[in-house]
């Protein structure tokens, strides 16, 4: 089991690149510890800005820095960064088109036991509704590295959400092609398409491997970029598999499932299921406990898919 959390990878990549790229600036809102950015703050103190607990200000300051040519990475808990500062995101980042990278740490229900104030399960819906924003979630530590490197190369305001704890690897190395806005097919199949994003990719991949044993061939898409969405991959999946299931660490409203179903409904209507956190204050617990409580597990996906494909056969 991997022991390295994605936030540590973000720090490592930025520490490395900041040695030569002096435009990189990391901003934290009393969050350098929780973002695992203390090493960056230490090694690149001239490129590190502490704002204190002030999420509106941190985003505005980052926009000002960006307008002067800096590449600011703002690392702050996703629950606050995506809500408290959303108007600064809308006006100072998206509307003004500034090159600020928001890194929402401990996203989803990472802070499971701390309650709804600390859960961020509306962030994807909020961020993807803002024109000009790029919205991304890495599946594991390898993808985190490739993603941060891609963001360094790409101009534009971005929201990147990562979790708190180490996640099991999806990839076994950096040796694969990662492109922003281009979903990766992790498993081929024609009976159903399972789509995950961020930390749910591992879960849907496990479900596909389990389904394989039942003779059900599932395609797995890693939708690391929620916006701009890879509509081509979705339409292809709908046409070729006729059934799509999404799993997200987010409200079932307006996130990955919402984005995918907008495309499916308009361009190639097929059976869809959206799995995630229901419209209620999420139950408190560890990530594993909360996922299990809401049926966000490989086993539950298998049950749903088997039942649906069984129904289809009977019909």
């Amino acid at each position: 089991m991997n022991k390295i959390p994605n936030r540590e990878v973000v720090n490592d990549v930025l520490v490395e690149h900041a040695k030569t790229n002096k435009d990189i600036v990391v901003l934290a809102s009393d969050s350098r510890g929780s973002a695992k950015l203390a090493p960056f703050a230490k090694t690149h103190h001239n490129q590190f800005v502490e704002t204190g607990i002030a999420e509106q200000n941190i985003v505005g300051v980052a926009a000002g820095l960006a307008s002067c040519g800096k590449i600011p990475f703002v690392a702050s808990p996703a629950c606050f960064l995506s809500m408290r500062s959303v108007e600064q995101v809308k006006v100072d980042l998206a509307y003004s088109n500034t090159n600020v990278k928001l890194v929402g740490i401990s996203g989803g229900i990472s802070y499971g036991a701390l309650g709804m104030s600390h859960h961020s399960v509306q962030d994807l819906a909020v961020m993807r509704a803002i024109p000009g924003m790029t919205v991304v979630l890495p599946a594991d530590r390898f993808e985190t590295q490739k993603m941060v490197e891609a963001l360094l190369e790409t101009y534009g305001p971005t929201y990147m959400r990562i979790g708190r704890n180490p996640v099991e690897d999806v990839y076994d190395s950096l040796d694969y092609e990662f492109r922003l806005g281009k979903a990766n097919v992790l498993h081929e199949g024609k009976d159903v398409t399972l789509i995950g994003a961020g930390e749910t990719v591992r879960v849907v991949l496990d479900a596909a491997l389990m389904l394989e044993k039942e003779g059900i061939h599932a395609r797995v898409l890693n939708m690391h970029t929620i916006k701009p969405l890879d509509t081509e991959a979705i339409i292809k999946a709908a046409r070729e598999t006729g059934y799509i299931l999404t799993l997200e660490e987010h409200s079932i409203y307006g996130g990955l499932g919402g984005a995918v179903s907008e495309v499916v409904a308009a361009q190639c209507p097929v059976k869809m299921e959206i799995m995630g956190i229901p419209d209620e204050p999420a139950v408190a617990g560890t990530t594993g406990e909360v996922f299990a409580h809401y049926g966000m597990t490989a086993e539950m996906i298998c049950q749903k898919v088997s039942a649906q494909l069984g129904k289809k056969k009977e019909a």
Binding site: N57, A62, G64, D92
Partner: protein, 279 residues
Amino acid sequence: MDVRSLEKKAVQIRKDVVQMIYDAKTGHTGGALSSTDIMTTLFYGIMNITPENSKHPDRDRFILSKGHSVEPYWTILAERGFIEKEELKTFSQFNSRLIGHPNNKVDGVEMNTGSLGHGLSVASGMALAAKMDKKDYRVFTLMGDGEQAEGSVWEGAMFAAHYKLDNLVAIIDRNRLQISGCTEDVMGLDPLDKKWESFGWNVMEVDGNNIEQLYDALIKEPACIDKPTLILANTIKGKGVSFIENQAAWHHKVPTEQEYVQAINELDQMLEALEVSHE
């Protein structure tokens, strides 16, 4: 700097502002007129900017945090050659770049504003970038007094003082009125000078409709080493047109034809008076 010529310039800009608002049948008349002298002083007397090299990395920066006072800004950008004067006629028309708030599709506008309480943080980021890059450009932001009720202003105030951004100047257009009435009735702000001082700022108070006083306050660079400067610019909302002055109702009221004629007449008389006193 020739104060008298700037005073005339400011009256001419007021005439253009009234014209724009009358033609477009929309605009924020009161705040536009109260802040005209401040923007005139900055753009003609203080800031190091040129339309020929509008993106020069060492240029001074201006953020109109009270974005609704955009009319003098558009007029000044046209007068200074950042945009064609002809384009002013498109103000607030369908698909125009010259909308009712600053728009960075227009040369000379650094950032989009419109929502209050954003400008100070953005300006602080720009001032911090100058410090990081060891550049000596200055950053100016103009806020409203009603805007001071936004909590984000005070997040920005703490930040700029903490980072000793003495290359940052924030100006408050203290006209004491906001859309619902007197600022002190809507949400008490006084003592505003003490509040900013207690946040670690160098505070200067001036008559914000007096170009000479504004110039003297703004030209010092820095006004106070290691502290950002706050200029409390006491102004008259609607300054320059008798029946608009000090009337909260004129926050975004548009003049009728009769009012328009009277306003232009009054401003013309003011210009004449300045000509005479100049001679």
